[in-house]
Subunit: 255 residues, 2 copies
DNA sequence: AAGTGGTCTAGACCACGGG
DNA sequence: CCGTGGTCTAGACCACTTC
């Protein structure tokens, strides 16, 4: 038989998995659990920390411990259908959320910043040279879901709507294309990262110990990289899907 | 100023980041830290647990606490070059590791098992119907790196090398093609998952609290799904790269 | 045998949120 | 004000590794 804190964790995990404790429900207090297991606070708190690490619960100081919503968002990062339908990415994002019964919101912000090493090497510009950063904080069901920073070389953005501080309805990719920068492909890097920087924690409203997922897309014309889109997702809230090849005949959704 | 355990964690984190403590080095013992900070064991252990969650250290019972190797493996899950060069996936994997100065190893195992719900829905076979499972445990630098389970519908595998208990040199995709099952595309699902099941923890030699990344590839012919390849990676040890579109002119490597 | 991390007890004080 | 989780002290015993 495992040790006490593991038994407590296993018991609570079962209650959550079998639905006795549903999303949003409050768990027994630490005092309750101490009484129930005739244990001291240490193993009780260790069990709760384990579950918090698993993303099953959230603790709220002075209020209690609550079962976390477990509905990861599914996003098609590359989709056969879309490539052949000319929908703008922003619209695709919104319609994909709606299809999953989620409410999408976003805030925009435009800044001109010196390129960090990570941005410069991908856009192939000099470090510290100016790039346009368009930040989009996306919310799902009124909770922050991702921080998306898109970067453009300044020489490309200059004099275009890319410098607009607002959402560009037809999509930045279309703007780039009109300016003669037609994207022909992109490279996506997917990298889980252990707990985020403090500012990311705030933006995404993450508890400590919750990892994030970077999705870094570098888009190219036939000549050069023209766009870098850096998404940071809460790791336990996201599922990315890449569809490759000719899947016309295959359009069912795996679960 | 933050609380004690956060200061201890921050101090140790700095020592690791600035190289004072290098990969493989042993950290001060809990007793040392208690003396150094004139603290009790609780905040010391909490600090160490924080770092363990961040994937920075490993604790080894009775031996000490050690700085963890921090060199994520980069794998091209989809690559323009490869699609046009006809290298078998297994070879591509090995050569990619070699290019990063890593030593690759793998063990094979073949079993015939009833399809779980997750497998059945993706391969579009009945739940509990028989499928062929080929398990490949991959090691990098003599440490387990991923567990890869490939599943094939039994009617397709029957009478082919897919039932062989050994590695198939030219690759299973080639075998499938010879049998008339030519893959035309695939769907990849990328899903971070909070700490893994106990058996996965053992196979991947993961500490508690370390998340994993599922990469689930369902490959299709023009008619049906014929292959399901389910990779489980230690989340902090992997970076996946997808190259899409015509990137012939663009073949530099982002960092 | 000595030292290490893993587990657990029994207390304490605090800040914060809600009646 | 009271209950909650967050932090911390000061001990204890254990299993295991290393010498």
């Amino acid at each position: 038989m495992p040790v006490l804190h593991e038994r407590i964790a296993a018991d609570l995990r079962s209650l959550i998995h079998d639905g006795t404790l549903a999303a949003g429900d409050r768990l027994p207090t630490e005092q309750d659990l101490m009484a129930q297991y005739r244990a001291s606070r240490t193993p009780v708190r260790q069990a709760l920390q384990t579950l918090a690490n698993e993303g099953l619960i959230d603790t709220a100081t002075s209020r209690g411990t609550f079962v976390r919503e477990q509905r990861p968002l599914t996003l098609h990062a590359a989709r056969y259908e879309r490539e052949h339908r000319e929908e703008s990415p922003a619209d695709a994002y919104r319609s994909e959320l709606l299809a999953q019964g989620r409410a999408a919101g976003q805030t925009f912000e435009m800044r001109i910043v010196p390129a960090s090493e990570a941005v410069a090497s991908r856009l192939r510009v000099a470090e510290q040279s100016l790039v346009v950063q368009r930040r989009c904080i996306r919310t799902v069901d009124a909770r922050p879901s991702s921080v998306q920073d898109s970067y453009y070389p300044y020489d490309i953005a200059d004099g275009t709507e890319i410098l607009s501080p607002n959402d560009v309805k037809r999509g930045i990719i279309a703007v780039l294309a009109e300016e003669g920068h037609v994207e022909v492909g992109y490279v996506d890097e997917i990298r889980p990262r252990m707990p985020p920087q403090d500012d990311e924690r705030r933006l995404l409203q993450l508890g400590p110990g919750v990892p994030v997922l970077d999705q870094i897309r570098t888009a190219y014309t036939a000549q050069r990289p023209v766009r870098l889109t850096w998404n940071v997702w809460a790791a336990d809230g996201i599922r990315l899907v890449y569809e490759l090849g000719d899947l016309r005949a295959m359009h069912d959704e795996p679960r």
